[in-house]
Symmetry: C2
Subunit: 204 residues, 2 copies
DNA sequence: GCTTTAAGCTATTACTATTAGCCGTTTGGA
DNA sequence: TCCAAACGGCTAATAGTAATAGCTTAAAGC
């Protein structure tokens, strides 16, 4: 019996691809094994089980997503960066709905969990986008959470075909980006007014 | 053998309660049967299977959610109504995470699907909230979608403990409501400027 | 009170994940 | 180069899942 040359990464990649094709809910160890031309129990030499496989796909996804958002915001600022990040995330989710589904409802088990690091790396470019708006530092966490909520919510509703009406989803998406951009500008102006009264004013 | 007096509604309610307690992913026909003091196959006299049960829980959830949002916005307008709707939705999801999980990734099969009607009823109060801001009618669908995305995204991230930092999630939530309220006001002003040039101006 | 309907049941089938243990391949050291 | 140990595939078996078939009896209607 020849070896298939598998390892954890290959099993994870096969599982991720399969999840995108048939949906995360339909993902099973047997189907992953079948795709790899191997019997089901063989997978357990590389991953600990379905839960472990799901977790590995999740980490892969968060990593890929973070890189996509980072690439899309490099060298851009404010609205350009915001739009780049938003479109990158939306595009990734549309292209990899099965992978993305593995990320909902999981959280790091501890600070040394590789998922924690991946999540932090993925959120960094979002923070960077907001940095360009020069918000009140106290507001930044709130803004990241809002941005994340909106993008995550939009993407999940879109892939499940949650938007009923025929109105263009693309137009709604652009409208939403504009809405956030305008709101962040306004919030930044408020913050700038606050900064003016400080001694080390940036205007001088 | 005495009868348990079950029907589809009772099975659905038991399933919904169980999903809230143990999580939707752990929901099974056997556990629902156990909770109702009945053998598993007996459930099939009332629901067609796990998929059907899930669908029924989903419809129940969307209905309850719509009622909660409607009650929370009755007699209020603009920011008050917005905050009421947002808090009602967030509160429901926190209280019924299992029920809510059944609603992600499902969509009506057709126009006569009871889920379609329930969804429309649930979205009506959201539209009503936005009506108070007197947006450009062409923007209203976009605004509903944005609002839905943000609230859905925030709620799902919160119940999965997706927000890492220690910064208060409550504060972030209020900040987000303010952000939207301010943005809608600004968008409404733009729309009002557009209306001014029309003959039947509302100012007169 | 009898008949019909329907709600429970047991038994069974066909999946699923997972573990135990075998056996041949590959690899690394003498 | 050969041998041993580690490792990656396998078969077989266990337990839990959804779902169906068909029996039996309780409830409802004439």
């Amino acid at each position: 019996m020849p070896r298939a040359g598998l390892d954890a990464a290959a099993v994870t990649e096969a599982g991720a691809a399969l999840a995108d094709e048939i949906g995360f809910a339909q993902l099973s160890m047997s189907l992953v094994a079948e795709r790899l031309g191997v019997r089901t129990p063989s997978l357990y030499k590389h991953v600990e089980g379905l839960a472990d496989l799901t977790r590995r796909i999740c980490i892969l996804t968060v990593t890929e997503l973070g890189e996509a958002v980072r690439d899309a915001t490099q060298g851009r600022a404010r609205r350009d960066a915001l739009e780049g990040a938003a479109r990158a995330l939306r595009g990734y989710v549309k292209q990899h709905p099965g992978r993305y589904a593995t990320t909902v409802g999981v959280r790091p088990t501890g600070p040394d969990d590789p998922l924690a690091a991946a999540l932090e790396r993925a959120l960094t470019p979002l923070s960077a986008v907001l940095l360009g708006y020069r918000l009140d530092p106290a507001e930044e966490t709130h803004a990241v959470r809002m941005l994340r909520s909106m993008l995550h919510g939009f993407a999940t509703l879109e892939i499940s075909d949650g938007f009923q009406m025929s109105t263009s989803v693309n137009t709604s998406f652009t409208w939403m980006i504009d809405f956030i951009d305008q709101g962040l500008k306004a919030a930044a102006e408020d913050a700038a007014v606050g900064r003016e009264v400080l001694p080390q004013s940036p205007q001088l």
